[in-house]
């Protein structure tokens, strides 16, 4: 079985910082929202940790952004508009049926073609819409008074809070699906190992 270097070091660093931070944000977010039900952290500590980790995610997003745009690798995220629909259907059929029969994955992962059509669609949404929206609403909620004018422009604190909470639930659900999908390599741990070593098995 051959190996290919698919995940460069900056991407792996970004990924694991992001993963660890997201777990912390979900835990502290749940504590903040449900203080009367859960008590594994004081609310004060939960808010403080949530804020600090939020800034780590912002810095980490900057790392991702600078790396992908400066190297031109951002094109990995751009779907091929001519083949996208057909590829996505093919990929969905594989996950829904072919994988159980032992059919090969229609997408062959290489350094230049890392994501399948479904991943491209999901990650473009995540990295260009959901995560920036979560960062912006998070910053506004961190200093409500300081960003009062911007909050009012968006329709008020309740709207900003609603966006932040809905995306929070979306990310919580995404992390479950993402972790499970990562077990669909040739062995359940193959993709996890690759995200540490950088090399994917072929």
């Amino acid at each position: 079985m051959s190996k290919e270097y698919v995940h460069p070091a900056p991407v792996r660093v970004w990924h694991w910082i992001n993963a660890f931070a997201f777990v912390l944000l979900v835990i502290t977010g749940v504590q903040i929202r449900f203080a009367e039900l859960i008590n594994f952290l004081s609310l004060e500590d939960a808010v403080r940790l949530h804020n600090w980790v939020g800034f780590i995610v912002i810095a980490d997003y900057a790392l991702w952004y600078i790396y992908y745009f400066s190297t031109g690798k951002i094109r990995l995220y751009y779907p091929n508009l001519r083949t996208f629909a057909a590829d996505a259907i093919k990929q969905a059929k594989y996950y829904g049926c072919g994988i159980f029969k032992g059919e090969p994955n229609p997408h062959h992962m290489t350094a230049d073609n890392k994501f399948n059509a479904m991943q491209q669609k999901a990650y473009v949404m995540l990295m260009f819409i959901f995560l920036p929206a979560q960062i912006i609403t998070g910053i506004f909620l961190w200093q409500v008074k300081g960003f009062e004018n911007y909050i009012d422009m968006l329709g008020g604190i309740r709207i900003v809070d609603t966006i932040h909470v809905l995306i929070f639930y979306f990310f919580a659900a995404f992390m479950i699906a993402h972790t499970y999908l990562a077990t669909l390599g040739h062995t359940p741990l193959a993709h996890f190992k690759a995200m540490f070593t950088g090399y994917e098995d072929h």
């Binding site: 903040i32 009367e36 609310l43 808010v47 029969k101 008074k145 909470v165 809905l166 919580a172 659900a173």
Partner: protein, 370 residues
Amino acid sequence: MEKIKPLCLTATVASVAFLACIWTASSALAIDNETCLECHSDDTLTRTESTGMKDSLFVDLNKFKYSVHNVNGVACVDCHADIEELDMDNEVPHAVSLAPVNCGNCHDEVAEAYQNSVHKKASHKGVDIPCYACHAYHDTTRLAMATVSERQNSFCLKCHDPYKAHDWLPAKENHFAMVECTVCHAPEVPRHVNLRFFDLVDSAFLKGDVIMRHLQTDPSGFTDLIDKDGDGTISQQEFEDLVLMLRQKDIRGVFHGELVAEINPIVHQVNRGKANRDCSQCHSVTSNFFQDVRMTFDMDDGSVSSYNVDRQVLQTYFVTFNALGTTRVRLLDKIGIALIAGGVAVVLLHLSVRLFTIPLRRKKLDHPEA
């Protein structure tokens, strides 16, 4: 069925009794305010203290006439009670040095409550903090409709810089803007969330008279119009109906909420160590800090109409008051739980089929030609 009664009723009765008492005393002395203001409306009128400092004796009539004391007919000599007569032959027609005004002569409950406060106890250290150090002299106004900012700027912030003592507090600016100091620092005081209608088109709080006029009612008819089930509390549905009625009259706005202390004598019992750092005492849906929610309207005649509101309204999109956890919109949690449960269900289903079909794949691996 019991109807909502304006909560200012008790205050009105107390004011009438108080006025009757004052009126009797003023009449007996017969030194009216106009006489005092003949000299004290002069903004250059000063006296020189023994320390050499000049002390202004000017009373600004424009402020004084709107003060709660003047509005209620309290005369100058009711407070400056050691002036019993004026001798106009003298350059100063009364004693040059007057006794300090004793507010406790009328505000006896407040004076008693104040004894047990960190401010009164400071007198042991040689610091005397009289009432008017916080409440000013001649322009004391009603506080029922005062915003948190107005209340704090008028009192606590005269001496205290909140930024020096709240480093630990997350989003401190937001707390300072939405929560009155005494809510935490005099926690025995009853407190409530005060909701005032903010007109989004004019970017200003709307006067009660304007709202009543558009609804073609008045403060006493407002209850019958809005509290349709007559249970004495405006429910979430009744609250949303009110917002809809206002929108039908082209008034678009939201209710701005603030957590304020009751205007109550024990609000003066501010003491060290009363406030604590347990955020969850406020930030949970079971917190008793938000049991009492009121909608208040200030009327042109200076009165305040106040109506009880179900705390559920704090979870609607028509209220700007946002306390983490406490005012969370439950619908979002239902959507969130559905999202997560859906994700888990799909994963479990897929995993089950994967495990169930292992023999199929193993067979294919062993007999690839099949």
